[in-house]
């Protein structure tokens, strides 16, 4: 009987076999067209010559990459020195993104843990609350944050009213403001994957560890964290990658001093002052950085499962 059941199961799935391969087609088409073509265009543009009013001249050139790394003086005839401007911007972006990731992890992990340990009936409400900010456009949220933390904004007024400070705090246009913006924008990306893995965590493992003489701290370090690590790593990638290329928060909250990669690239394509090949090259460098991080992660994961 079991054999018959198995065979009929096979035949019902093989009935769909001829079209199964086509189910993925829409996704392939959209990704193929709207991801590969633009990225390919950027890659090509980054090796072309710039036109003064924006756009490109179809002539191969390494000038964009050269400009990123070397300073050859105003007229390009001096001996090349290392150009630190853009490397600094990239370094600052990396540090900002890493800090935002860490902040999201510190706040997001306990949040996710809390939600995952609620009774099943109330978890959906908590998850809903985490995603509520996404009902409002990111631009609107970032602008309102700018309003909240500006010198004469509600936050400063409140702090002055309580007597905690006498002079308004300079929050806007600082690294801290950018941090705040990034953290606020990407926190749910940290909470949701961690929630998913903690929710699947079998708390009998914690009991087993306690039964085998482990203290609470040891249980967290040696059993809980290693078991939910995939969720933590996924959350970190989901926060770090968009933070690295973030544009709204640094632009609106950080001001000119705290330029990040996103703003640098954006500026190259704006109006007549831009430099398309240079913007494309900066985008390509950013993309390579992200890919390197992801590849290291993927390699470690596959190495682990082969073990």
């Amino acid at each position: 009987m079991a054999g018959i059941g198995g065979r009929s199961g096979e035949s019902s799935s093989s009935a769909f076999a001829p079209i199964r391969a086509w189910l993925i087609l829409p996704t392939w088409l959209i990704i193929g067209f709207f991801l590969v073509v633009p990225v390919g265009t950027m890659l090509v543009y980054s090796f072309l010559t710039k036109e003064f009013r924006g756009g490109v001249i179809w002539e191969f050139s390494l000038a964009a990459y050269d400009r990123f790394i070397f300073d050859r003086g105003l007229f390009g005839d001096e001996p090349p020195k290392l150009e630190l401007t853009y490397i600094t911007i990239f370094a600052r972006s990396t540090i900002q993104a890493a800090a935002a990731t860490l902040l999201c992890l510190i706040i997001g992990f306990p949040t996710a843990f809390y939600i995952a340990t609620r009774p099943v009936s109330t978890r959906a409400i908590w998850l809903f609350l985490v995603t509520v900010p996404y009902w409002v456009n990111l631009l609107v949220r970032t602008v309102s944050m700018k309003f909240l933390i500006r010198e004469s904004g509600p936050l400063n007024s409140f702090l002055q009213w309580t007597g905690a400070i006498s002079e308004p705090l300079q929050i806007i246009n600082t690294d801290f403001a950018v941090q705040l913006g990034l953290f606020y924008s990407y926190l749910p990306f940290m909470v949701l994957p961690i929630y998913a893995s903690v929710e699947r965590y079998d708390f009998a493992l914690s009991e087993a560890a306690a039964d085998l003489y482990a203290t609470r701290w040891t249980i967290l370090r040696k059993v809980l964290l290693p078991t939910v690590k995939p969720g933590i790593i996924a959350g970190c990638i989901l926060v770090f990658v968009p933070s690295l290329g973030a544009f709204l928060a640094p632009d609106l909250l950080g001001g000119a001093k705290n330029f990040m990669i996103g703003s640098l690239i954006e500026e190259q394509f704006k109006g007549n002052a831009g430099n398309w090949p240079f913007g494309a090259a900066a985008a390509m460098i950013l993309l390579s950085m992200v890919l390197v991080v992801l590849m290291i992660y993927a390699r470690r994961q596959s190495g682990r499962s082969r073990e």
Binding site: D202, L205, Y213, A214
Partner: protein, 363 residues
């Protein structure tokens, strides 16, 4: 003399556990001896797992005391109690190798590195998994995971090992094999085992003593033979094995037993726990193998009727006999010792309780 009396391994004194209004454990008093294989047996929801978790330290008790070798451990957290648990679904650490799982407890106790490695290997050999040290739990079968859980729990040399329905996730054949192995392991290691199960066969085959639980209370504590042959009350008689229960009235109470009447049909002698009152309505329990079946012409008995169904069971044959008042009595006869008398459906038979087989029960 007093010095020679051994401290019980585990002693429960008036243990009560309440969840709000719900009483999970009502005043449990129990002594579990050193080196004993003790089984808590009962239907699901009877409180046996709650009791086990209270001993392990996962549940705070509402009242009473838990003593381990004479010392109160009721207020200690689980990681301070020299007791280890084999969990129902094993709860092996998925990110660690089998070896690291087994070593975990010893490492937490701060045992020297060489000793940890040594004992882990020995424990794995004891459960016949010496070659699997470097595997991860998800690369093992259910039975193998079960053994790892055992090795992990026994490695830190606990004073008491708690086992929470450890065989329930295994298939039948493996379960039977593990019964023998568990019993053997317990003898070899000399650790006191407290085993929780709802499977009476498991309890009867492995235990030195059994505590039968129902509705948060210990209904009876005794050896498997005592529990099976001399059940205290109706629940125990009904839960352990198969039995025929009759509504009877006590007509005579003597020194060594009493006589009870089946309404108008007559009366039979029986054993009883305690001294029932004359005239009390009680239940009489007779196991299917405790009834001798004779042809109606050969013997007279208040119990008897018409054979309604015959089921061949290999070593035994089971007969269902319908009495004139409509009761259905199960009788089991061993095939090997068949006395040449064959019965068939429709035969009129008399059923005679064997000596000591009829037992009067309190409700």
């Amino acid at each position: 003399m007093e010095g020679e009396i051994e401290m019980p391994a585990v002693e429960l004194q008036g243990v009560v556990k309440k969840y709000g209004e719900f009483v999970a454990l009502r005043t449990i008093d129990l002594e579990i001896k050193v080196n004993e294989f003790f089984t808590l047996l009962g239907p699901s929801g009877c409180g046996k797992t709650t009791l086990l978790r209270a001993i392990a330290g996962f549940e705070d008790i509402t009242a009473g005391a838990i003593l381990l070798g004479g010392e109160r451990i009721g207020d200690l957290p689980p990681n301070k109690r020299p007791i280890n648990t084999v969990f129902q679904h094993y709860a092996l650490f998925p990110h660690m190798t089998v070896e690291d799982n087994v070593a975990f407890g010893m490492r937490m106790l701060g045992a020297p590195r060489s000793e940890v490695a040594d004992r882990s290997r020995k424990m794995l050999e004891l459960v016949k998994l010496g070659d699997f040290a470097r595997r991860r739990p998800d690369q093992l079968s259910g039975g193998q995971q079960q053994r790892v859980a055992l090795a992990r729990a026994m490695a830190p040399r606990p004073r008491v090992l708690l086992l929470d329905e450890p065989l329930s996730a295994l298939d039948l054949k493996l379960r039977h094999a593990m019964r023998v192995e568990l019993k053997q392991l317990q003898k070899e290691t000399g650790i006191t085992f407290v085993f929780v199960t709802h499977d009476q066969e498991e309890a009867l085959t492995m235990s030195d003593r059994i505590g039968v639980m129902d509705q948060g209370m210990l209904q009876q504590v005794g050896t498997p033979r005592e529990i099976y042959e001399k059940p205290n009350n109706r629940f125990v008689a009904d839960f352990i094995g198969e039995t025929n229960l009759f509504d009877v009235r006590v007509s005579e109470v003597g020194e060594r037993g009493c006589v009870c009447a089946f309404g108008e049909r007559g009366s039979i002698g029986c054993e009883a726990t305690g001294r029932p009152l004359v005239g009390a309505a009680c239940h009489l329990s007779i196991r299917p193998e405790g009834l001798d079946m004779r042809s109606r012409e050969d013997a007279e008995s208040p119990l008897g009727g018409k054979v309604e169904q015959i089921v061949y069971l290999g070593t035994d044959t089971q007969y269902l006999v319908r009495t004139p008042v409509g009761e259905l009595i199960t009788v089991r006869r061993q095939n090997a010792v068949a006395d040449g008398v064959e019965f068939s459906v429709g035969d009129e038979v008399s059923l005679l309780p064997r000596p000591g087989a009829a037992r009067l029960l309190a409700d």
